[in-house]
Symmetry: C2
Subunit: 157 residues, 2 copies
């Protein structure tokens, strides 16, 4: 399986992640926004992820909750700015454990000879917020999540 | 009247604008989100601005339309991520003339001995988008808009 490529230039306030999935673009897009599939891939497998809200439309709210055994809950939420099937999603993202720190995430899907190139561009309010996200172990978490996403895709192709 | 201060460091993808208004924070915040007052200050006076939508809540959509004599309409829209009265607004912003280019705007209001310091931080998906906004004459437009906003405040204090 293809691994993710993560670019975070020093002093900038963005993180750009790319990954190729071995599935056609329509399927990748539809799976990415499918609330029934989110618990199967979003976040590391050691957490149980539930979808509290997922209103996939402009102005819709999404909220996911993660729970680990004998630990507290972690929750994340945001609002969808744009849904352009099967090309692009634009939405905000906030970890409720750090309220007030918001990022803008743009996920694009491009056909690549029957595979799909996903580009996830996150822009942060400050460089410090960006560096905080990098320091939180997000690369390992995202790598695992996107491996799990690829596995889900392979059950659907 | 205080002028705006605009910071846009080369190579970064943000613009930070500050301005002090001679009015208490609660009034500044309430006026900023008042749809009846938006047409009196948002944008340059040579345009007629109308509020198409302004749902000031998480997930709410805003959309403003500007029309100049014998010219086309310009429209702008976004979604509110957070409304924390009287401290902070977080929302997305898209000029419909350049669809797909979205920025995240965070406007904070701080008390400053009875005056109010407004900080408006815009982060863009790319440096090119940021530079495009700077090149569009936004500083002059924003200076005029915030002068008009101060005038509206002075009718209300």
């Amino acid at each position: 399986m293809s691994k993710i490529k993560l670019i975070a230039e020093p002093g900038k306030q963005e993180i750009v992640i790319t990954r190729v999935f071995d599935a056609p673009r329509n399927l990748v897009f539809e799976t990415y926004i499918n609330p029934d599939v989110i618990p199967k891939w979003w976040g590391p497998s050691k957490y149980v992820t539930t979808v509290d809200k997922m209103e996939v439309r402009t102005g819709g709210i999404w909220r996911y909750v993660q729970r680990a055994k004998e630990e507290d809950e972690f929750a994340f939420h945001g609002v969808y700015h744009a849904i352009v099937a099967p090309e692009r999603l634009v939405f905000t993202f906030e970890f409720e454990g750090m309220p007030g720190h918001v990022l803008l995430e743009t996920v694009t899907f491009e056909d690549n000879n029957g595979k799909t190139l996903m580009t996830d561009r996150m822009v942060f309010q400050t460089v410090e917020d960006r560096d905080g996200m990098l320091g939180s172990g997000m690369e390992a978490g995202l790598t695992e999540a996107l491996d799990r996403f690829e596995q889900q895709l392979q059950t659907l192709v």
